[in-house]
Amino acid sequence: MVRLITHNMLACHVRNCNKDNFPLIFSEVELVIRETPENLDFIRRFLPKLDWTALVDTARSLGDTTLPDEQPVEMTDDQLRALHHVLMEMHVEEGNMTCRGCGHVYPISNGIPNMLLAEHEVGR
């Protein structure tokens, strides 16, 4: 776990960190690919919620280069399948997610990221 579909919904939320706080950058990752039954309708419906550029950059940082730079206006089934693979089948099991803005490191262990803030980081 930490699939890219979830990763695309997460930003750094440290107090006053609102520049370059998304997407979080993966490092030292242990990546596992797990095949998951396709639901292309689901992918199609979820598409408008995604930040495409962040997704493509993140997928490339993990070695998957199947997604085009620009979000296609009409997705073909093949493109949706590639998107399904990136969103649903790539699991980051271990590693870190780092904020480019404030440098906060969110560690991932056993597929569960720890996104608890430290006491000096929470908003008041």
């Binding site: 979830t6 997460l10 419906r45 919620k49 560690p107 608890l116 803030l117 430290a118 929470v122």
Partner: protein, 474 residues
């Protein structure tokens, strides 16, 4: 339009109609309740299309079986008269193997009575032969009695045949959802905790979320994930977060360890439905946008066995929250250590409930649902206890669904997002509970009142903490 008899459990009566309505809404088919008294062991419903029966069979956890209704009457004479006039009902099945099963609610057959009942239907002229094990057609004769307490064998015998209604129908199938309650019982689950919700309630809640394939359902107080297994079993993708990762993970950590929740998910064959599990404080959440979650389902901790917490310090602590990171003796920051845990303070249920509705207003898609349990002191519950938030409305059948434990109960609240926009991420600020003093919701300070056995509130000196200090957090 075809009428069906649903043999329904007599448990959880206030959940019955909402759950049936939710199934009809999940799969977008109309259902009409025909029975005058909707709270007996049999419920007659009308469906527009035969194919819709399958949805009720797949999802009805309170349903035992469903039959096509052929006749119903107050006496057998009337029942037989009606059936004699409709031989056409049986034409299709005349050459098939069959059996006739007498069943009853609030009553047990003894002696030769069942056989006599079966024989009285000889005129149906079924020619395919009786087959008890695997008949092609299964007819049911169902006698519905009033519930009554009897003490002697004579009284018991006198009850024979004194039913309120007798139904005759062709059984279409047994519920496929009801056996799930036993299959996914907490007793045999690979991973659970001391606050795990029983499987039956989990499924009833999951039904309220309109869970189905392709939806995303999120539990912000996931704990050991009881509700998520049910949603995932119904085909939805699920996601959970909790302030305490150990709840989701279990004791062990390290390489090659599968988090406890995923072990239980794998046991039920739904591991691939678990999108992600995350550790964070929902009031300080990293979620960057709203409008993408189809339903929020949760059983918030209310303090009796575990209290809700959020990052912060109790007001009784001498030092306030640090402004700067804590530097350890070796010059490193404490919060960069893997063992670091920030300080927590109690999260009062009144604040939590309002925040939950605001969060749903933000995260849900339009017409998405928020489903959660709210503990209340039975005598004090009032409809105003449910927070009113622009863009969210409560869906309620009758007086709502309640699990009644006597002096207290827990109320299953279902809300729907009526707003079309995402709006703003809520601020999660503490409410000024003192200003609510004379209209405090019945779930305020629930844990303390539970331990005080729900003695009436002392109104003259309202003992009202401002930041939920006394919400138990054992």
């Amino acid at each position: 339009m075809p009428l069906y008899i649903l043999r329904v459990s007599l448990d959880h009566l206030t959940f019955r109609l909402p759950s049936l309505l939710s199934i009809s809404q999940t799969f977008d088919f109309p259902i009409r309740f025909v029975s005058e008294d909707k709270f007996r062991g049999i419920l007659v419903v009308e469906l527009a299309h035969k194919k819709d029966v399958q949805h009720l069979i797949d999802r009805g956890t309170l349903i035992m079986w469903i039959a096509e209704l052929y006749a119903q009457a107050e006496t057998y004479d009337d029942l037989h008269a009606q059936l004699r006039e409709r031989p056409d009902l049986f034409d299709e099945y005349r050459q098939r193997t069959f059996k006739i099963t007498p069943e009853a609610a609030n009553y047990h057959f003894i002696g030769s009575r069942p056989l006599e009942i079966v024989k009285s239907f000889a005129y149906l002229d079924m020619r395919g032969g009786v087959e008890l094990e695997n008949p092609e057609v299964d007819f049911v004769v169902f006698e519905d009695y009033d519930s009554e307490t009897i003490h002697t064998h004579e009284q018991r015998l006198a009850r024979d045949g004194r039913f309120r209604t007798v139904y005759f129908g062709r059984r279409i199938g047994f519920s496929r959802a009801r056996p799930l309650v036993k299959e996914q019982s907490v007793k045999t689950r690979a991973y659970y905790g001391n606050t795990s919700m029983e499987a039956e309630m989990g499924f009833l809640m999951a039904n309220q979320t309109l869970a189905r394939t392709g939806k995303i359902i999120y539990d912000p107080f996931a704990g050991t994930g009881s509700m998520l297994y049910a949603c995932a079993t119904f085909g939805a993708y699920v996601m959970g977060s909790d302030i305490d990762g150990r709840q989701m993970r279990g004791k062990s950590k390290g390489p090659d360890v599968t988090p406890g929740m995923l072990r239980a998910a794998a046991q039920y064959g739904v591991a691939d439905k678990f999108l992600d599990l995350l550790t964070f404080d929902v009031t300080r959440s990293p979620i960057r946008r709203g409008g993408w979650v189809d339903a929020i389902i949760t059983d918030p901790p209310y303090g009796v066995r575990a209290g809700a917490k959020r990052i912060g310090k109790k007001s009784t602590r001498k030092t306030p929250l640090r402004e700067d990171p804590y530097v350890l003796e070796d010059g490193t920051f404490a919060h960069t250590k893997s063992t670091y845990v920030p300080p927590f303070r109690p999260y009062e249920l009144v604040n939590l409930t309002l925040d939950l509705v605001l969060l749903a207003r933000y995260l849900l898609v339009p017409r998405g649902r928020l489903v959660f349990f709210l503990p209340t002191v039975t005598e004090e519950y009032d409809a105003i206890d449910i927070p009113v938030v622009e863009g969210m409305r409560e869906l309620k059948v009758g007086d709502g669904s309640v699990q009644d434990f006597g002096k207290w109960g827990r109320r299953l609240i279902t809300m729907e997002k009526t707003a079309e926009d995402d709006g703003e991420m809520p601020k999660f600020e503490d409410q000024d509970i003192n200003s609510l003093a004379d209209k405090l919701p019945a779930h305020h300070d629930f844990a303390r009142r539970y331990y005080e056995r729900f003695a009436p509130r002392n109104n003259s000196t309202p003992d009202v903490p401002t930041d939920g200090e006394s919400a138990g957090s054992s």
